[in-house]
């Protein structure tokens, strides 16, 4: 069974695009966000949430339902989504790892590629991934903190920052501060990857991939033992060809970032990168990045 490739990154770090691009490699299968390792057992994905704004609501199941419909039913329709629900019902007391193993075995010899940014919220979740797949490969995807935070705050009013308690307390009130999420989630990833052999991990800046996709995707493919010929690289330039790069049927619409689902075509570009000393545009006091965030961003190669 081919070891899967997991993308580890906070949300809004080019994960949807990179996941779909890698998934279009002829030897790979790009999955939607399965969110399986958010929970220990499959049934917990149906057991509701850990709070009113938890990530384990019905939408968290859309990716899994769409993947099962596509893999086992050959298409994503209302009927095959219902079949996927039955499939999951029959395995409700399985561990998430066992369910994932079953999916990976089904698509073998293709290499599964998956990213669910919610995995990075807890090292326990990433450990479950590693326990299920001791030979898995991990791509740590990074994005500049200002770009990532701006993007995070523009989605769903910045609700993700609440999920990870990215809060700054001031004298008489508190505010959402997305750079806390950027730092804490990257720290989770770094601490988790410290337990993984070097040969099973690679780190990439999303901006580099956007600017020179052929070069950097080829690097990842080579590292993962996949073909790097021109045909394989060309396939990776077309994330829109993925069966999951669109909205799903009415009973499983999402499974990925809605912005990506609405416009999955990749256009190479060099993202503008602000200086680490620039003011943070989401702050109302003109403040900038925290010293800890700047230090980590420098370590990642940003200036």
């Amino acid at each position: 069974m081919a070891a899967p490739i997991f993308l580890l990154a906070p949300p809004r770090s080019y994960t949807s695009l990179v996941n779909a691009m890698l998934g279009q490699h002829p030897q790979a299968f790009g999955l939607p966000e399965l969110c399986l390792f958010n929970v220990e057992k499959l049934v917990d994905l149906w057991r509701g949430s850990e709070g009113p704004i938890s990530e384990n609501g019905a939408v968290a199941r859309h990716g899994l339902m769409r993947a099962l419909a596509e893999i086992y039913g050959g298409e994503q329709t209302t009927a095959t989504i219902n079949m996927a629900r039955a499939w999951a019902g029959a395995r409700e007391d399985w561990t998430s790892g066992r369910v994932f193993q079953e999916i990976v075995a089904k698509i073998d010899p293709l290499v599964a590629v998956e990213k669910s940014p919610s995995y990075t919220m807890s090292k326990i979740r990433m450990q479950w991934m590693y326990e299920a797949f001791p030979d898995a490969r991990f791509v740590h995807l990074i994005r500049h903190p200002i770009g990532q935070c701006k993007s995070l705050m523009a989605i769903n009013e910045g609700a993700f920052a609440i999920k990870v308690e990215a809060i700054e307390f001031r004298e008489d009130h508190c505010v959402l501060e997305p750079q806390i999420a950027w730092y804490d989630l990257n720290l989770n990833i770094l601490e988790f990857l410290d337990t993984v052999p070097d040969s099973q991990q690679i780190r990439m800046r999303g901006e580099d991939i956007m600017g020179s996709p052929e070069k950097h995707l080829a690097q990842i493919a080579e590292w993962a033992g996949l073909r790097t010929d021109a045909e394989a690289i060309e396939e990776m330039m077309h994330p829109e060809r993925s069966p999951f790069a669109c909205f799903g049927p009415i009973n499983a619409l999402f499974g990925n970032d809605p912005n990506f689902l609405a416009g999955p075509v990749f256009e190479p570009h060099k993202p503008k990168i602000p200086r680490l000393s620039d003011p943070a545009p989401w702050r109302d006091d003109g403040g900038g990045l925290y010293p800890e965030v700047i230090e980590m961003a420098r370590w990642f190669g940003y200036e």
């Binding site: 990074i142 609440i162 965030v293 940003y302």
Partner: protein
């Protein structure tokens, strides 16, 4: 570096190996200096879940956090309502959408940008897809309700026969 200058592949990255290169296997990997340091979230971590747990906040912090959540929820509801109001005004939306394609004599403007036409076509396709989806879901529910209704009538007729 100016704001509009993208980071090039030769960006200096201090003592680090270039981050876009595969990290070397073996023992010469440079360990991140942040390992084991404190998280920036002021909310204490629950060791069982390895996630921030707001129930462990001091009472005054908990109150501030709750106040922020209330404001957040109210803003979100207001914006959601604004969007809904737009959705329930289809005639106005359609009229505004078509305005770019037809002038007051019903003719398309001579220099209508292709981008606008493509965008309008995509927007309409998106609406059609949504309506088809809702229609499919309603039909699905209708079939289920009819099944339940048929079953109920059948049970009723049986019970009447038994009497």
């Amino acid at each position: 570096m100016s704001d509009d200058k993208a980071v090039s592949e030769q960006t200096p990255i201090g003592a680090q190996p270039p981050v876009s290169e595969p990290k070397p296997a073996g023992g010469d990997k440079q360990k991140p200096p942040f390992l084991g340091t404190k998280r920036l979230s002021p909310v204490p971590i629950n060791p069982d879940t390895d996630r921030a747990d707001p129930t462990k906040l001091a009472p005054h912090q908990e109150a501030l956090r709750q106040a922020m959540l209330n404001v957040f929820t109210a803003q979100k509801a207001r914006r959601s309502l604004e969007r809904q109001v737009q959705h329930i005004s289809p005639n106005r939306n359609l009229a505004e959408g078509i305005k770019i394609l037809f002038d007051d004599k019903g003719q398309p403007p001579a220099n209508v940008p292709l981008e606008d036409i493509v965008e309008e076509r995509r927007r309409l396709e998106y609406h059609v897809k949504w309506f088809e989806g809702i229609l499919a879901e309603l039909r699905n529910r209708l079939v289920r309700v009819k099944e339940v209704e048929d079953y109920a009538f059948e049970m009723l007729s049986r019970s009447l026969d038994d009497e």
